[in-house]
């Protein structure tokens, strides 16, 4: 069973989702929770069985689909994708478990299970076409979640979300086809397998074009400035569960794809575009943080804060060294936990008051102290307080990029200031002051069902902030191999200089020891 665990992880929720149509409406919740629990258990088992010391892919499965064109079902997992998969299973579980009263709860749960299939699929795919299929399929359940259960502007928001990301992915698909074609030209064999592509060294000008094609698809997904405007609408209109999954997992597809595709395939182009992308990332960080400060809707604050944090992740990724990339992957997980929790928290108050406008609140700390405490914890994590999960990622990302540019890191570091400004301002507006709005007088504090989701997230937030090692080690191993690959593959002087050569450093140490 362990040999096929990845396939099981992908298709078990889908199968269960299909079977879900036969389940009675009243027992659907229990069914959904059961399926998600099994899936989460499987994900944990995968983690348990995962060999931390191996840098490369594990649990590889291969089934031929169209061998003539080198399109095969190849899946595998390494330290970079492992934790995002676990996180996806975890969020599906707590999402279903804490699902509040929703119309058509049956369809919602089936949609979530389908979404889970696509999420796991994206992160384990080792074949570009399989990757692309799951990547696009993931849009469909999210389109339904926003379009069917969303707010008043849901149709606009869902169509915008779908078309925008879809248009970007098409450019990416063209890039993939070209990449496969170049591979064919170089070797005489068609292949869409990513691991095959890793071995191909392309001339720099080819790299630049392909990098740009992939970039469009990934950047819209992340979303990077100036492609970010679909996100506030999607978050603003999506139901709580939709926002949680969107922020926690779906956005990570873009940054993950940068690390899986753009960096190892096109190291020279990555070096070439490093500074422009870093500047975009800084604009993302500072500009969207300021936009977040101008929001009146607390959910939009969190939505824009997501964009801002994704900027730090991008910056870490394009540090092109082990510290930065490891930090950015860790920050993906951290941001998943924290922003997911923040969206859940916004959902808590929305369920009670059916509004998200901060002007309607104020003084909530008086009536909902536990809510205020958990919100405060997550806010501090979002702000990047040491000993919370976010700090580790942010610190490493910025530290990594500092090696590439001092002044840009200084500018990006403004993140810790502007982040504090909008978060504290929002917290003050919601929780501090006298209780002025009569409607808030009798609000109940967080319920048990909500705590089911929030308590584990709080524990993870602190646990991984104090002891990130269990996650950092496997990530570090895989990242080291990718950085080494990038260094070996790069052809330009600049890239050789920017991307550290780990093997030589290690070699130096041993030779010194020998002396």
């Amino acid at each position: 069973m362990l040999d096929n665990i990845l396939s099981i992880l992908i298709f078990f929720p889908a199968l269960a989702g299909v079977l879900g149509f036969m389940i009675h409406k009243d027992s659907m919740r229990a069914y959904g929770v059961a399926v998600a629990t099994i899936e989460f258990g499987l994900a944990l088992w995968l983690w348990y069985a995962f060999d931390n010391t191996v840098a490369g892919m594990q649990f590889i499965e291969q089934v031929a689909l169209i061998p003539t064109f080198g399109i095969n079902y190849i899946i595998g997992v390494d330290g970079i994708s492992l934790f995002i998969i676990v996180l996806a299973a975890f969020f599906t579980l707590i999402g279903i478990a804490s699902l509040t009263d929703t119309k058509n709860v049956k369809n919602m749960i089936i949609t979530l299970l389908m979404l889970q299939m696509t999420m796991v699929g994206v992160f384990v795919a080792l074949d570009a076409i399989i990757f692309y299929i799951f990547w696009e399929l993931s849009l469909v359940p999210m389109l339904y979640i926003i379009g069917a259960w969303g707010g008043p502007l849901r149709i606009y928001a869902s169509v915008k979300f779908f078309l925008y990301t879809f248009a970007g992915s098409l450019v990416m698909l063209v890039g993939m086809l070209f990449m496969a074609y170049f591979y064919y030209q170089a070797t005489g064999v068609w292949s869409f397998a990513i691991l095959d592509w890793y071995r191909l060294i392309l001339p720099e000008n080819f790299q630049l074009w392909l990098f740009a094609a992939f970039f469009v698809g990934f950047a819209i997904k992340v979303p990077m400035f100036p492609f970010h405007t679909w996100l506030p609408y999607a978050h603003g209109q999506a139901p709580t569960i939709g926002s949680v999954i969107l922020a926690a997992i779906l956005l990570k597809m873009g940054t993950y794809a940068f690390i899986r595709f753009s960096l190892p395939l096109f190291p020279d182009a990555a070096t070439f575009f490093m500074f422009p992308i870093a500047i975009l990332a800084i604009i993302m960080i500072v500009y969207t943080a300021m936009v977040a400060y101008a929001q009146e809707d607390v959910k939009q604050v969190v939505a824009y804060s997501s964009v801002s944090h994704m900027g730090v992740i991008i910056l870490g990724t394009f540090a092109l060294n082990v510290e930065g990339i490891t930090g950015s992957i860790f920050l993906m997980i951290a941001h998943g936990v924290v922003s997911g929790a923040l969206f859940l928290l916004v959902g808590v108050i929305y369920d009670r008051r059916h509004t998200k406008m901060m002007s309607e609140f104020g003084g909530l700390a008086h009536v909902m102290p536990r809510y205020a405490t958990i919100f405060g914890l997550m806010m501090m994590a979002s702000v990047g307080m040491p000993l919370t999960i976010n700090f580790v990622g942010e610190f490493l990302s910025l530290l990594g990029f500092y090696q590439q540019s001092h002044i840009l890191t200084l500018l990006a570091g403004i993140a810790i200031i502007v982040g504090a400004i909008y978060m504290l301002a929002a917290y003050k507006k919601m929780f501090f002051g006298e209780l002025t709005n009569e409607k808030n007088r009798n609000l109940p504090d967080v319920s048990k069902r909500e705590l089911v989701a929030l308590i584990p997230l709080s524990i993870i937030t602190i646990w991984l902030g104090i002891y990130p090692k269990p996650i950092l080690d496997p990530i570090n191993n895989s990242v080291e191999s990718i950085v080494q690959l990038m260094h070996d593959k790069s052809t330009s002087e600049e890239a050789k200089k920017r991307i550290p050569n780990l093997a030589r450093e290690a070699g130096l140490v041993t030779s010194q020891e020998a002396h």
Partner: protein, 641 residues
């Protein structure tokens, strides 16, 4: 010895968690008593460590576990107890134990009693991490941790708009400085390859001046935020919105001195870059007189003491900047004792006066609050630096340092500040405790604080009196094993005596002047009409040189407006409108071309024929072009294309 280290470090955390357990339940004394006892335990453990260090024992260094490790980066949770950190530990645990006990009485009637102790103990834990960490990253944990607790405690009465505003201001301003600190840490890492103090400082000896200067500057920016140096000073006065025990512990004795601690801890770095040191000293001297001048006129006793803290921090930085690290640390310690005492005394007054803070509305309180009066007066004497109290030994030493190092401008500024310090300290003493009774008319019925609060304060009183002459030499011998043991002696004995006695006389004169001026019978509650209040300088000072006003007008407001512009104008009207614009162009194209699809078969057939003709013609043209390629190229090259 490790066990004592862990006890000293984690006892406050246990206390904090214990009090947090009662966070949601109604006020219970146990939530205050247990953390206080645990802090006492921490104090005892620290004392054992102190004894160990003083008696020449080895430095205690433990590595608890790995925190972050990736690539070349390795950061453990490591803790070190050496001469510097043990000094800080003693100050922190002693003052916080006293403040905890005091707060049991002070917060007696507050419904957030349990929550308060949870925060306060968490603060002590963060502070202990800050001073005990053996690396810069651990220092940063504590650094941010105390910032968080300071935010929680300033905004403790969260229903008050001013309190939450001050809390956010403090947090954000500290964050600005923390960015500098973070950059400093990055610089240290990429240049030395480690964040451990010993490794990093050792590697710094081989770095070039420019890098070292940058490291020094960025780390000092971090220190400026926490220690509220100009221009990041405004938060400290506003932080007085928090409960008074918080002001005593965080904003006088411990947290604000973290910046000084950082400079002292990094003495090996700053010794290599004396020009940065001189800048630090100059800034310190400037802040000393700048803050003292604002304290002269303020009508809020807590704010006066806060400015005085700021001023004393300036003294410490002046000493540290000039390389007299042990002097700075000594003043830090002495200052912690008498300033905490002063704050707690002010807390008694506030309690008695139902949170009234304007000393002009008090007067004659000495009759009812004799013990508090004696304590505050002695604390002020210590602050003013009168022989033989603690302040004399630490503060006069700083003046000597400046004099001996031939920095006469700094010396003069600090000397002047000493006079101002004495004046404003006794201005509030006179206004509160002496002179006419002005409070009864306003309906106040003051009473002395609980006895146990006064008893709790007494160790501070004793230390404020004796810390100078009993502790100076043992302290000097201890810390100079780690810090440069420069002794500052004025060469000629005559000069020394003239200086010392002159300073003493100057200070005493200032005290007399303050008493004379503010004990007179015609002191009224100012109402904005007197000539002095309309004086330009008075206005400048009472408005804190218009700096908060400037920040509000030229930083906060533009930031808010810019944010709105970014959102409303740029994000919605440019970025998003472009995206929607592209979509709309496509839609409009479809709308306008769909008339072609009229449904009329005849029309469509015509279109079909037209299309066919067009394609055929194209095929013919391309066919011809290929056929006559050579000729075309010849013609084109003839045309010079």
């Amino acid at each position: 010895m490790e066990i004592y280290l862990y006890v000293a470090l984690f006892a406050p955390l246990v206390g904090s968690l214990f009090a947090a357990l009662f966070g949601a339940s109604p006020r219970t004394k146990i939530a205050g008593i247990v953390p206080s006892l645990l802090l006492g335990v921490s104090f005892i453990a620290s004392s054992v460590l102190l004894k160990h260090i003083v008696s020449g024992g080895d430095i205690v260094h433990v590595e608890m576990m790995t925190w972050m490790a990736t690539g070349d980066l390795y950061i453990p949770f490591g803790f070190v107890v050496d001469q510097i950190s043990v000094t800080m530990m003693m100050v922190v645990t002693l003052v916080s134990t006293i403040v905890h006990v005091y707060a049991i009485g002070y917060m007696d009637h507050d419904k957030g009693f349990n929550r308060f102790f949870s925060y306060l103990s968490a603060f002590v834990f963060s502070m202990m991490i800050l001073v005990m960490s053996d690396n810069f990253a651990g220092l940063f944990i504590g650094w941010e941790g105390v910032g968080l607790c300071s935010w929680l405690l300033i905004g403790f009465w969260y229903h008050k708009e001013s309190a939450t505003w001050a809390a956010n201001e403090a947090f954000i301003m500290n964050r600005i400085a923390d960015l500098g600190m973070l950059i400093g840490i990055f610089l240290v890492f990429w240049n030395t390859g480690t964040l451990q103090y010993d490794g990093a400082f050792a590697a710094m000896q081989n770095l070039d001046q420019e890098t070292l200067t940058w490291i020094g500057i960025f780390l000092f920016i971090g220190a400026m935020g926490k220690s509220a140096q100009f221009p990041l000073h405004t938060w400290l006065a506003d932080a007085m919105e928090g409960p008074t025990p918080v002001s005593a512990l965080i904003h006088a004795a411990t947290m604000v001195t973290a910046g000084v601690y950082l400079v002292v801890r990094s003495n090996e770095l700053y010794a290599l870059i004396p020009h940065v040191g001189l800048f630090i000293a100059s800034l310190g001297a400037f802040v000393a007189i700048f803050a003292a001048s604002m304290a002269l006129v303020n009508r809020d006793i807590k704010r006066v003491i806060a400015y005085s803290t700021l001023s004393q921090l300036g003294y410490m930085f002046a000493a540290a900047g000039l390389g007299a690290y042990w002097v700075a640390l000594f003043h830090l310690m002495a200052h912690a004792f008498f300033k905490a005492l002063l704050f707690l005394g002010a807390g008694n007054v506030m309690h008695a006066m139902n949170s009234e803070l304007d000393p002009f509305k008090m007067g004659g309180l000495g009759k009812t609050m004799k013990v508090s009066m004696i304590m505050m007066t002695l604390a002020s004497v210590a602050l003013a630096g009168i022989f033989p109290l603690a302040g004399f030994f630490s503060k006069d030493l700083i003046l000597e340092v400046a004099f001996v190092d031939h920095h006469f401008i700094i010396y003069t500024v600090l000397l002047l500040t000493a006079g101002l310090t004495a004046f404003y300290s006794f201005r509030i003493i006179a206004l509160i405790f002496h002179g006419e009774d002005r409070h009864t008319a306003l309906g106040f019925h003051p009473h002395e604080a609980y006895k146990f609060m006064l008893v709790a304060m007494s160790p501070l009183l004793i230390l404020a009196i004796i810390a100078g002459f009993t502790m100076k030499m043992p302290y000097f011998e201890m810390v100079t094993q780690l810090l440069p043991a420069t002794e500052y002696h004025v060469h000629s004995a005559t000069t020394y005596w003239i200086m010392t006695i002159g300073t003493q006389l100057f200070v005493i004169l200032a005290i007399f002047f303050a008493y004379r001026k503010y004990m007179s019978k015609d002191i009224r509650v100012p109402d904005g009409t007197s000539r002095m209040e309309n004086n330009f300088f008075y206005k400048l000072l009472i408005n804190q040189y218009y700096i908060p006003h400037f920040y509000e007008e030229y930083l906060v407001k533009p930031y808010r407006e810019l944010s709105t512009i970014f959102f409303k104008q740029i994000d919605q009207k440019i970025v998003d409108a472009t995206v929607d614009g592209i979509a709309n162009v496509l839609l409009a194209t479809g709308e306008s071309t769909r008339v072609v699809q009229s449904g009329n078969l005849s029309t469509m057939l015509k279109w079909m024929v037209a299309g066919m003709v067009a394609l055929l013609s194209l095929a013919v043209v391309f066919g011809l072009a290929v056929k006559y390629l050579d000729e075309i190229q010849a013609i084109l090259s003839g045309l010079g294309v």
